[in-house]
């Protein structure tokens, strides 16, 4: 069907997409290997490849503690958020109850909420509650803002699961709760996984809450720490150090994308188009 010419044409277009997506990544990787005056050589590639920037970054408390914070906060927020979303999405997809549309509307409203509009009051509230500049102070907003997407992804998945399985379990004497836990959860595991990846991306990426609700290395996550690298005098060239730190925190993203490409695509599009 497809002529060779059109196949080559689409292939070239695909190549253009690869250049589009990878050029800035390649640039920051290249920059992270530059050293000394090389940083300002105005060339794409370093004239001499050096690992110095990575050594500097790992010797910097600002970065290592931020990395620890980011990993811990993102993982905890992801786990708890996905558990809550799984339970809620099950109810939305499977049970009849009043107010279901209200819940979905609330989720939509939160998904489009301008987060910055909240940081002022949250800053104030967190200080009086004593959770300003702590892990939990970031975990809570991350959960709130990732729940909508998780609920959509998961309820879309739950709708695809055959009803009969659950009914069969209930006929065999399982309570609704058992039917949920023993039948639905294993079937829905791929969906749960997708929701977890998208939630992790959100938490890993967040900057607004990260700079507003933290003050020290105690809880400051990587994106906020990167912003504070600039202007710090103990780096002669923050450019290269920031680049190296950027590459390090991009590695988990690329790993997840490479391994779970299909799931991420399915998750991002599940809410948008109904089959």
């Amino acid at each position: 069907m497809n002529s060779l010419r059109s196949r080559v044409g689409w292939g070239l277009a695909g190549l253009a997409i690869l250049v589009y997506t990878l050029l800035p990544v390649a640039w920051i990787v290249s920059l992270s290997f530059k050293q000394g005056d090389d940083i300002n050589n105005k060339k794409f590639l370093p004239s001499h490849w050096s690992l110095d920037n990575y050594r500097t970054v790992f010797d910097t408390n600002l970065f290592t503690s931020a990395l620890r914070n980011s990993i811990g906060i993102s993982l905890i927020a992801t786990t708890v958020s996905v558990i809550l979303a799984t339970v809620a999405a099950y109810a939305i997809a499977r049970l009849q109850f009043r107010g279901k549309r209200l819940v979905l509307s609330a989720a939509l409203a939160i998904a489009i909420f301008p987060t910055v509009a909240l940081v002022g009051p949250l800053f104030d509230m967190w200080r009086s509650l004593g959770i300003y500049d702590t892990w939990i102070g970031l975990i809570i907003p991350y959960m709130s803002f990732t729940l909508p997407l998780s609920i959509w992804v998961l309820s879309a998945f739950f709708r695809e699961i055959p009803w009969e399985m659950e009914q069969a379990a209930q006929v065999d004497g399982a309570t609704p709760w058992q039917a949920f836990r023993k039948v639905i959860v294993p079937l829905a595991a791929p969906g749960v996984f997708t929701a977890a990846i998208l939630t992790f991306f959100f938490a890993w990426n967040d900057f607004v809450f990260g700079i507003s609700l933290t003050a020290t290395n105690n809880a400051r996550p990587v994106p906020a720490a990167l912003a504070f690298f600039t202007g710090e005098s103990f780096f002669q060239q923050p450019t290269a150090a920031i680049s190296a730190a950027s590459v390090i925190v991009t590695i988990p993203v690329i790993a997840l994308v490479l391994i779970f490409q299909r799931r991420i695509v399915a998750g991002l599009t599940s809410g948008a188009v109904k089959g």
């Binding site: 196949r7 689409w10 277009a13 695909g14 997409i17 800035p24 640039w27 920051i28 920059l31 940083i39 300002n40 794409f44 339970v87 809620a88 109810a91 009849q96 109850f97 107010g99 979905l104 609330a106 989720a107 939160i110 489009i112 301008p114 987060t115 910055v116 509009a117 909240l118 002022g120 009051p121 509230m125 809570i140 959960m143 709130s144 959509w152 879309a156 709760w177 991306f201 900057f207 607004v208 700079i211 990167l226 912003a227 450019t239 920031i242 680049s243 950027s246 991009t250 993203v253 690329i254 997840l256 994308v257 490409q261 991420i264 695509v265 991002l268 599009t269 948008a272 188009v273 089959g275």
Partner: protein
């Protein structure tokens, strides 16, 4: 389906219709209601705790002259903060900047996103590679992307001026060139999201329609506008809605690249500066509330104006 299963002994008057005319719920159905609420409640509480209450608090504080560093001077001022904000030319400048960035990025993204979606839809050799690569800008930290583009255009470290023979062009010391780089970084980072939504839409367009149009002699351009786009209207509108509202709250890229200098400040940066940097929770509250209202207005305008099927957006 579940209304017929009231257990014996308790269902004596339970079945049938109450005097009010509403069908009375069986015990089983009531259990289902209750379970539904128990399961949804934790998620709803967490979602509202960090949105509804702080928003209410922002509305409340916006009626006061209140600076965190000087709590004793807190004073009720009614709507004066709103008057101050709305008569300040800085507010309107930031409104313009934000709207400008939103309109330009979303317009560019819809076009590029559609092109990328078409390629991903049609390509056979290397399909998986392209679909994986497109997720990298989506997944990468916005701050990292902003740094990468900033360094690429920077006077000292950048390669862009060198590549294109622009000499010493200082991209970030002029409003429009700074906005151009900000928009470029935003487009790069968020086009993949749009292209994936559009790809899902493309997959819904029946191939037979394309073939039929081709047989009838429609050009590729006509097929695009008469067959493809009308059949994926839903996906386009969902992409438009989400990306517009997302673009409108732009913060990270501007914060990293210019910090709002050279008149590149967005409304989100303004709200942040008032509340966090200057700790003016009263005035900042007014900015926050106005920002929130703008988002609500835009959402309503898109949903009404384009007749977006809210059920599809909401996922019910």
């Amino acid at each position: 389906m579940t209304t017929l299963t009231a257990p014996p002994g308790t269902g004596d008057t339970g079945r049938g219709v109450r005097a009010s005319g509403h069908p009375r719920l069986s015990e089983r159905a009531r259990d289902e209601q209750r379970l539904g609420w128990y399961l949804v409640a934790p998620a709803v509480i967490v979602m509202l705790a960090v949105t509804a209450y702080p928003l209410g608090r922002a509305v409340y504080l916006s009626l006061y002259s209140y600076r965190l560093t000087d709590p004793a001077a807190k004073e009720f001022v009614g709507l004066r903060n709103y008057g101050v904000v709305l008569t300040d030319s800085l507010w309107w400048q930031d409104v313009f900047t934000t709207v400008f960035i939103t309109v330009v990025t979303v317009a560019i993204e819809l076009v590029i996103g559609f092109a990328i979606a078409t390629v991903m839809h049609r390509i056979i050799f290397g399909r998986r590679t392209v679909r994986t690569a497109i997720l990298i800008p989506y997944g990468i930290i916005t701050v990292v992307a902003a740094f990468a583009w900033q360094y690429a255009f920077a006077l000292d470290s950048g390669f862009v001026n060198e590549w294109f023979g622009l000499g010493d062009k200082a991209w970030f010391s002029d409003r429009w060139s700074a906005l151009a780089v900000i928009i470029l970084a935003e487009v790069w980072k968020t086009t993949p999201f749009i292209s994936l939504l559009l790809l899902a839409g493309l997959a819904q367009v029946p191939e037979e329609l394309q073939e039929a149009a081709k047989v009838d002699g429609a050009t590729a351009w006509q097929r695009l506008w008469r067959v493809t786009i009308p059949n994926m209207k839903g996906a386009i509108l969902v992409a438009l809605l989400f990306r517009t509202l997302d673009a409108f709250r732009i913060f990270d890229t501007i914060f990293i690249m210019t910090g709002g200098a050279e008149k590149t400040e967005s409304l989100s940066i303004l709200a942040f500066r008032q509340t966090i940097t200057r700790t003016e929770l009263g005035l900042g509250g007014a900015v926050s509330v106005l920002l929130f209202l703008s988002v609500v207005l835009i959402a309503a305008a898109i949903i009404r104006g384009f007749n977006v099927d809210l059920g599809q957006v909401r996922g019910d």
